[in-house]
Amino acid sequence: MRRRRGQARAISGALVAAVLAAGTVEPSPTQAEPVGHARQVVRSVFGTVDAVRRPVVVDGDVFWREQIETGDESASRIVFLDETTLSTGPNSRVVIDEFVYAAGPGGGRVVIELGRGVMRFVSGIQPSSTYSVRTPNAMIGVRGTDFVVIVDDSLRTSVFVRRGAITLAAAGGGELSVGAGRAGKVDAGGHLAPGEPSAPESQEVAAATEITALLAISGEADPAVAAEAGDAGALSARKAQAAAARAATAASASGAGCGGC
């Protein structure tokens, strides 16, 4: 059994007790154990833990309780010890609120808080019930693998599920199940939007796309994206569809240029 955050907590707890007994300050972030690392960083991404702010760099560690902030046209992709993937889009702020990695039932717990902006969450190898995402006015329980959360300037929470399913609990009461390809919203007052779940709005799809585009264009492809294209036996079907589309399309057709012209 691996309990990285559990260990970190135990270590931190012992340190805090010792520090309090000695009448000094809390441990510095360097004493914390990493819970993951940054796989991709596009432009401006900063992490803050225990009031120490630093640039997040590719392959650099990410810590429990760290706040990750992205700037304009910026993005990051963090992979946690349990293979959970957290991608953040421009002008976003997330906090790794809890991270306990424990094999076996009931052992782990992962809570990510999105204060503003947009993030994509692909759950790792722990049981789905391990994971939740908190926003200013909602709590998202994970029953599947891949979804996008947006907290806009008015603090409305939108969730767009790409694969699997989630439960969306509004701070003002009420809960909603949202399946793949559907979206749910909680307004700034903490109430579920009527008529949900619904098809995602085009702006929600665009926000989700921006994360994908920034990471794929500025770096290497996001494995989750390729997996989306290729899982569930869909790859061979897509391959055949693409081949048929190429065979049926004259290179001079449409406004698109050809590969070598």
């Binding site: 665009a206 794929a216 290497e220 994206v225 790859l235 065979a247 399309t249 004259a250 290179a251 050809c258």
Partner: protein, 241 residues
């Protein structure tokens, strides 16, 4: 005795004839390169070799490399792809020409087109110019396709890879004193934005009108535009002037 105007007209006529004599073989050269080079894996990075274009981060495979003598010079073509599992996620296409000292490129018409999502053109002169643009690329093989489309299609077929019908990306063109460099950096549109269920994106889905109507597609093209701005200095270093 000929007047100054007559001499000018004669010179202009000679220039046109020379341009046609040069342009037709170059055009043909651009479409006739189809010999297959060995495949090789290379790693992308900012520090490309002197004659090699910069490749974005990741693992790249050379799927085609050819060199062909053409009238007054040499034409070269190379194609690299990167894959994610069984999916071709990116491609880089290079077309380069080197002409003899007496031959120069005319400002290229392909620097501007209503079909491009965006375009940036430096001030062209007789022998020097640069431009880059964001566009969708049709990988169709029907009719009389360009050899690049056929090479990519055959590579995907022989390696059982998923090659989309349309890619989106940035093309850079630079020419200077008889040297031309044209580089396409392309991304699999199906990966950047999942198409509707049970279908794939086609070139028509990425026309300027289609992009204008879809915020997600606009986001992708704007992201490419920003990437092009960042990447242009690397291309400029490959063919400096």
């Amino acid at each position: 005795m000929r007047t100054r105007a007559q001499r000018w007209r004669s010179l202009s006529l000679a220039a046109i004839v020379a341009s046609l004599a040069l342009g037709v073989p170059l055009l043909l050269a651009g479409c006739a390169v189809d010999d297959r080079g060995p495949t090789a894996a290379v790693t992308g990075g900012e520090a490309g070799q002197a004659a090699e274009p910069p490749l974005p981060p990741g693992s790249w495979k050379t799927v085609h490399r050819s060199r062909q003598d053409i009238p007054h010079g040499v034409a070269q073509r190379a194609i690299w792809i990167s894959r994610d599992q069984d999916v071709i996620d990116r491609a880089v296409l290079e077309f380069a020409m080197q002409l003899g000292r007496r031959w120069e490129f005319q400002p290229r018409q392909s620097c501007a087109s209503a079909d491009y999502f965006s375009q940036v053109t430096g001030v062209p002169t007789v022998d020097t110019g640069e431009c880059w643009h964001v566009r969708a690329v049709n990988l169709g093989t029907a009719g009389d396709p360009h050899p690049v489309n056929l090479i990519l299609a055959e590579f995907a077929r022989s390696h059982d890879l998923y090659l989309p019908a349309v890619m989106v990306g940035v093309r850079f063109i630079r020419y200077h004193e008889g040297r031309l460099l044209q580089l396409d950096y392309l991304w699999n549109a199906d990966l950047l934005l999942p198409p509707p269920p049970d279908r794939v994106w086609t070139p028509a889905d990425w026309s300027n009108d289609a992009v204008a109507a879809d915020p997600a597609k606009r986001t992708i093209m704007r992201t490419l535009q920003r990437w092009g701005q960042d990447w242009e200095p690397k291309v400029a270093a490959t063919l400096p002037f």
